[in-house]
Structure formats: structure tokens, C-alpha cells
Amino acid sequence: MSEMAIGRSGTGRHIAYVLRSNPVTAVAAAGTLLLVLIAAFAPMLVPYDPVASNVPHALEPPSSLHWAGTDQLGRDILSRIIAATRLDLVIAVSAVSLSFVVGAVIGGFCGYRGGRLDRWVGRFVDVLMAFPLFVLAMALVAALGNRVENIVIATAVINLPFYIRFARAEVNVRRNAGWVEASRACGDSHLSVVLRVLLPNVLPAMAVQISLNLGWAILNAAGLSFIGLGVTAPTPEWGIMVAEGARFITTGKWWLVALPGLALMLTVLCFNLLGDGLRDILDPRMRT
């Protein structure tokens, strides 16, 4: 019975299996791939220059010339949506990577060592989480300056507490496992136990958190732009497009808001759905 269940399966076959058994993951993965391709080749894909205004054709509804219509300056909305993909993805991915790396390392050490370090970091995280996070992000961008890097930093900081707590908890339950002790007998120092043994084991569980967070980071960046912090006017960005288009929604010009909003929603949805599939792919125990 056990002999049958045991069978060597390659990584490719395993991914294929996960995608086959969970079609939602496959759809989300395809969507994410599409987003990345759009972001990479945005300059080649846009039908019009995303920042060139064309006032005679302002506020035109979707048509065969302008598939998603034009905005108040006559700029092609589809081109702007496509061009914005790159900026939004870069902000989200770099902010989440930054908070993941920093959070996992800090949380990993706290979970492994425990004691005073753990208590101090824990209280600091509690204080950070007591702020309304969006207000904290606003304050950080306002203080540091209205630049893309600062949006990334602000988004990373407000995500940090979740990663610290998550990594701490996941490492903490594993620190007494036999294989941690075994790796010390194999010549690992405490430092290398955390970085090379424990954290890789925590990664599958954190993958879910990462993908959920990507969606959240995009919303956060868009939200900052919406209230006028972060990315500024002519630059195509989903949040700004929604903010600017909001003025026209009362006069029935729905496409200014709806289409960038839809792009935002689909992107967030893709990342969220990807989470579970990603965990299954990264966890070798799912391979049988």
C-alpha cells in the first residue's frame, strides 16, 4: 500500500498536478503571467501614447478607435491602464519583497531565540499594529516625500508586523523539531539554523501571505495615489486614474472609473487566488 503511494515525481510534474487538480489556481497563475507580460511589454502594447493629450477627443465613450474610451484630456484610457500595470506591479512586488525579507529574518530570530529580544520586538510590533495602517502609510509618505521609493517603503513598513508575527509563530513551533537539532549536529551555527534551515521550511506557509499581500499592496499604493500622495498626476497609475475619473462619474462618464477599477480588481483577485496554489507547489510534503 505504502509502496504504491511512494513515487518519485519531478517538480514539473508536481506543478502540473497541482494546477490540474485545482483549476482556480491555474486560472490565477495564467492571469498573473498575463499581468507580468503586459507589464514587461507595455510600451509595445499601447495603441496610443498614454500621456499625450488630445483635447478634441476628450471624454469619448468606448469605441472601435478607443476601446476603453478617453479621459478629460483625450488620453486613451486603455493605453493608460496598460502603461500603469508596470508601475503598480513594481510598487507592489518591491514593497512586499522588502517586508517579507526583513520580516522573515526578524521574526525568524525572535521565534528561534525567544527571551528578551522576542518580547521587545513583540511589543514594538504591537505598537505598530495599533496605528491605523493606512494613516501610518500616509504619514510616512508625507514625511519622506512624494516619490515612488517612499510609497514602497511606506507599504513595506505597514506590512512588516504581519510578516514578523507570522515568521515568529511558524519558526517557534518548529524550533524544537528533531531536524533542527540534527542540523546543529551537522555543523550549523544558530545563525545558519535560522537562515538556512528554518526559514526555507516556513516559506510555503508564507507564500499564501505574500500573494494576499501583493493584492493588498497594490490597493494601498492606489489608495495613496487616490488621495494625492505618492505617484503624481500625468503618470499613468490605476489609483490616480480612479481618483481623476471620479469627478466625471456623476455625469454618466462611467468608463473613466470603471475600467481602471476593473483592472485593479482583477489583479488583486489573481494574486489572492494564487496563494493557495503557491503553497501546494512549494511544500514538498504535498508531493506523494
Partner: protein, 571 residues
């Protein structure tokens, strides 16, 4: 195979006919039971023995109709007191379970609800079967705790499972299982994971309750010694089939089926040697050792003390020495400090006092956090008790074995590393094809070999073995013990064997040290201690080991009334 006993006049208490169970898995449908026939009279104890994966537990779960959703009864019948319960509905099953059929599980700590007190959990069982008079719920629970001989039962009523020892938890489980006076109790490895002396008392308790209440019992175990000692009849299972079935003495004295013979051969008796256990293994070629006079001992402990805060010392003034290429056994029950001692010697933790001398040099002064830089790190390796828990779930067998080579010898991926890993795997008897697998894709014996291969990969001089065979089947245990003996004799690796099982230690080690509560109670050559134990504690340990000895049946298991099957045969 049909039951040996001729069909009795009345129908047996439990009759399983041609029972088939299949599980649907990722790789299609897997048949777990290929037609099992078992019959059990009331008052009788049936032992189901076999190694892991043989279908023992599936049989009991199928009888209780507790199979998980993937499992299904695909054929055959289960009759209880003459009624066919194979397809009984849930309401009927709920009435049966607990009140007529009851079960106790392997790990009592997991089977008890951690957030409810002992009293609440016992009352729950009584209430579920309408046996509860609210007024004296407490008295009933108390009576049950008295029946399972729990010390100070009034105080235990309010206790939570985590406040009780493993043996106590199992007693509470037994109390819950017998609360509604079932006619049949199924005990699935009830003593596995308990200390030998606790094992003994739990089994005595079960046998006594069984005799007092006239219950029938099915004892599922991998331990032939236990089965031989407590059961009237034995069914031997292999790969989903009952290969042999008969009265205990007859079956074990003249086993018919080759599998039974192999199991019997692999079970250590009082006199067996390593060579007896696995006769097919190739002979060991011992390299004659020439120890020069004045060679320092490989390892010497001098008055070592360790405590983890609090008044009690985990290790209290322990001294012993191990010659190069020697084998020393450290024996004791849980809490004796033997695991702490093995971690001290491996320098994973620091001693509070005393000295640890390795090849004439003190290594106790090197702090544990710096020890990975010491050249001695390579020389002292450890094999852990739980082979599954000690393997990184993200490492393949290859990576696990390569781990010490990468860290301690700085080997990079390449031919040299592959060569060393393959060499270690080869010496540990691990097939090369398994090197690409992850721990969850390996069997228990294979994982034990990966753990041993990892320890011998950096070519250590001393190997600390922390109960390396405790979780293994007897046939696997026999092979692993022989492997360890071979490594010692052919490669000259000194072994420090930590175990609770005196009998296993006796076969592998020249000398042994008996520990109790962190102190050495007896030390000396293993044969001498085994034959003439001096300390009272050593004698208790020796008595409790369930040697496989078909003659040695316990008084309690002699049935008060002769079971029907034997009576019918005599008539």
C-alpha cells in the same frame, strides 16, 4: 484462511467474514484489506500482530466503522452479537460504539480533548449513552477512575490531560472506554510510546478489567512479546491478509507461515544474539582491534551535572568511560536524563558542572554555540530517536546525508560530494534509488537508515544513538541493530546506545549504565548486569521488558471461563 476453531453452537461475539477495505488515493484505489476472517468469543483476547502497513489498524477501524472518508468497505461482513453491522446506519452505530464496542488508541494524549477535564470527558461518554444520573455523575466518574487504579482519583477528576503522565492519560482513556461496559474492547497499540514499567502496569490493568467485567478484547500490536504474554489467540497479518491464526502457544511454538517465522525470528528473546534476529544478513567481518596500552578512552564523563532550572537535576553527577571502538548502553525510562546526557555529549547543550573528555581533550569548555567550529564536531555525531522528526521535510535523502559534508567539510556539489553521500548511503544499506526522495516518501526503516547515513557521512569516531529503533518494526529493528554492530566492528566507530530496552542494549553493547532520575544506579558489563542485576530498579526494568517468550503468559490473561472455541474443540 478460515478461523481454526470449528463453528461454535452459538454465534461468536464478533465475526468478521471476508472483509475487504479499499482507499481511494491520488494513485487510484488501493486495497488495504484483501478479505479478512476473524472470529472472537466473549471473554476472549485476540491479538492482531503484524508490522506497520499490514492492515491491523484498518481492520479495527473497519469493525468500528470509523474509516475516514477515503476508505470504504468493499466486501464481506462484520457481525456483532449475531447482527450484521457492516452497513448499519449512523444512529445504530452511535449506540453501539462506546456501549457495546469500545476502542482505545495508541497515543492517549492526542485522543483526549486537551481543553476539558478528566471528569467532563468521562461524564460526556456516560451522557452520550444515557447512562448518566446527573445527581451522581461525579460518583460514577470517580468509580471509573478507581477501577483503572489511578492514584488519588478525587484530585485527578479536575485535571486536564496535559497535567497527567502518558500512563495516566492511557488509564483515563481506558476508564472512558469501559464507562458503558462494552462487550468488546479494541486496544490499538495501547502501550506503544509508554515506558516499559508503565507498559506493564497498563497491560495488567487491561487484563484485570477484562477478567472482572467479562469483556472480550482485541489487542493490536507490533510487539510479539506483548501479544504472546496477554492473548489467548493470535491472528498474524501481512499486507492486508491474515496469514496465520490460532491459539497463542501453538502458533508461536510452531509457526507455519514463512512471515510468522520471520517475525518470530526477529523478536528478541532473553537469549537471542544479533545474528539470530536476522539470519539472512551477511556475516560481519571484524577488523581485529589492537588497543595500545595507555590509549586514552574515546569518551569519558567526569561528574557531569545539568539542570534546566528548578530544584531537580536532569543529569546528576554522571561519570563513565567508553573505550575507542567500544559500545556502551545508557538505559533508563523517560525522565531518567538519558536524552539530556546524549545532547550533552554531542555538545548541543552545555553542562553545568563536570567534564566531558573526548580522546584525552576536554570538550566541555567549548560552548555549545561555538561547537560547530570545533574539529570535534565531525567526530561526534548523533542519530535521533524519531527518524521522521529528525529529517528536514524540505531535504531529500541526498540533501540530508550531504548536509554534514557541506557544513563540516566544505564540500561543494559535485562528484566528490556525490561519491561521499553514496558511500555513506551504501554503508547504511540505503538503496541509491531512494536518495531523491523526501522524508514523507520513505518508510520508517528507510528514514532510520537516512539518519544513520547522515551520522556516518563525516566519518565520526563516536556515534550517539538516541533510541534509534524505538519506532521501528521488529524485523527492521533487527536489521538496523546488525547494521550498527557492523559499523562498529568494521569501521571502528564507538557507539553510545541510549535506550529504554535492556534486552536490545544487551545484544549490542559490551557495557551498560543504568540511569534513574539523572543518577547512575548501576554500571558494568551488560551480560553480568543482565544475569545478576544488583539494583532494585534494574530488576524492575528487566522484569518489565516483554520478551518474546511463548511460555511466559500472565496470570490475569488465563481466562476465568474457558473460551467457547477451546471448549468446543475439547468436547
Amino acid at each position: 484462511m478460515k478461523p481454526v476453531a470449528p463453528a461454535p453452537v452459538t454465534s461468536p461475539l464478533l465475526q468478521v467474514e471476508n472483509l475487504q477495505v479499499a482507499f481511494s488515493t491520488r494513485h487510484g484505489v488501493v486495497t488495504a484489506l484483501h478479505g479478512i476472517d476473524i472470529a472472537l468469543e466473549s471473554g476472549e483476547t485476540l491479538g492482531i500482530v503484524g508490522e506497520s502497513g499490514s492492515g491491523k489498524s484498518v481492520t479495527s477501524l473497519a469493525v468500528m466503522r470509523l474509516l475516514d472518508r477515503a476508505g470504504r468497505i468493499t466486501g464481506g461482513r462484520v457481525r456483532f452479537e449475531g447482527r450484521d453491522i457492516t452497513h448499519a446506519n449512523h444512529a445504530d452505530l452511535r449506540r453501539l460504539r462506546g456501549s457495546a464496542l469500545s476502542m482505545i488508541f495508541q497515543n492517549p494524549r492526542v485522543a483526549l480533548n486537551p481543553i476539558r477535564t478528566v471528569e467532563q470527558q468521562i461524564v460526556d461518554v456516560l451522557a452520550a449513552h444515557g447512562r448518566l444520573s446527573r445527581a451522581n455523575a461525579r460518583t460514577q466518574a470517580l468509580d471509573l477512575l478507581r477501577a483503572v487504579l489511578i492514584r488519588d482519583p478525587e484530585a485527578r477528576l479536575g485535571a486536564y490531560p496535559h497535567e497527567l503522565s502518558g500512563g495516566m492519560c492511557q488509564r483515563v482513556m481506558i476508564a472512558m472506554a469501559i464507562a458503558c461496559e462494552p462487550a468488546l474492547l479494541i486496544a490499538d497499540e495501547p502501550t506503544t510510546g509508554l515506558d516499559v514499567t508503565t507498559q506493564q502496569t497498563v497491560m495488567e490493568l487491561l487484563a484485570r478489567i477484562k477478567a472482572e467485567r467479562g469483556m472480550a478484547m482485541i489487542l493490536i500490536t507490533h510487539d510479539l512479546g506483548l501479544a504472546a504474554r496477554w492473548c489467548d489467540r493470535i491472528a498474524v497479518m501481512e499486507a492486508g491478509r491474515v496469514v496465520e491464526n490460532g491459539p497463542t502457544e501453538a502458533l508461536f511454538e510452531a509457526p507455519q507461515h514463512p512471515y510468522t517465522r520471520r517475525l518470530v525470528a526477529a523478536s528478541p528473546t532473553r537469549r537471542s544474539t544479533l545474528a539470530d534476529l536476522a539470519p539472512e544478513a551477511p556475516p560481519v567481518f571484524a577488523v581485529p582491534k589492537v588497543l595500545k596500552a595507555g590509549t586514552p578512552p574515546l569518551l569519558e564523563l567526569v561528574h557531569v551535572v545539568k539542570s534546566f532550572g528548578g530544584p531537580t537535576r536532569a543529569v546528576d553527577d554522571v561519570s563513565f568511560r567508553l573505550p575507542p571502538g567500544g559500545a556502551l548502553g545508557l538505559v533508563g525510562e523517560s525522565g531518567s536524563g538519558k536524552s539530556t546526557l546524549s545532547r550533552l555529549i554531542c555538545r548541543l547543550i552545555d553542562p553545568d558542572d563536570g567534564d566531558i573528555v573526548f580522546e584525552g581533550q576536554s570538550i566541555a569548555r567549548i560552548p555549545a554555540r561555538e561547537f560547530h567550529k570545533s574539529p570535534f564536531r565531525r567526530d561526534i555525531q548523533i542519530v535521533f530517536q524519531d527518524s521522521h522528526d529528525s529529517l528536514n521535510p524540505r531535504h531529500t535523502a541526498f540533501d540530508s546525508i550531504a548536509h554534514p559534508l557541506r557544513r563540516l567539510e566544505g564540500l561543494r556539489d559535485g562528484a566528490a560530494l556525490t561519491e561521499r553521500v553514496r558511500d555513506a548511503a551504501n554503508r547504511a544499506g540505503l538503496p541509491m534509488a531512494l536518495l531523491e526522495r523526501f522524508p514523507h516518501q520513505l518508510s520508517g526503516g528507510q528514514k532510520a537508515r537516512v539518519g544513520i547515513a547522515r551520522a556516518i557521512a563525516p566519518r565520526p569516531k563516536l556515534m550517539v544513538l538516541d533510541e534509534p529503533t524505538a519506532a521501528l518494526d521488529v524485523s527492521v529493528q533487527a536489521v538496523i541493530l546488525q547494521l550498527l554492530d557492523r559499523l562498529r566492528r568494521e569501521d571502528g566507530i564507538g557507539l553510545l546506545f541510549v535506550s529504554h530496552d535492556l534486552n536490545v542494549v544487551r545484544m549490542l553493547c559490551d557495557d551498560l549504565v543504568v540511569l534513574q532520575a539523572g543518577k547512575v544506579v548501576e554500571a558494568g558489563p551488560s551480560q553480568a548486569i543482565f544475569q545478576r542485576p544488583q539494583a532494585e530498579y534494574t530488576r524492575t526494568l528487566l522484569d518489565a521488558v516483554p520478551y518474546f517468550d511463548p511460555q511466559r503468559r500472565h496470570a490475569f490473561s488465563v481466562p476465568t471461563a474457558e473460551p467457547l472455541s477451546i471448549a468446543a474443540k475439547n468436547a
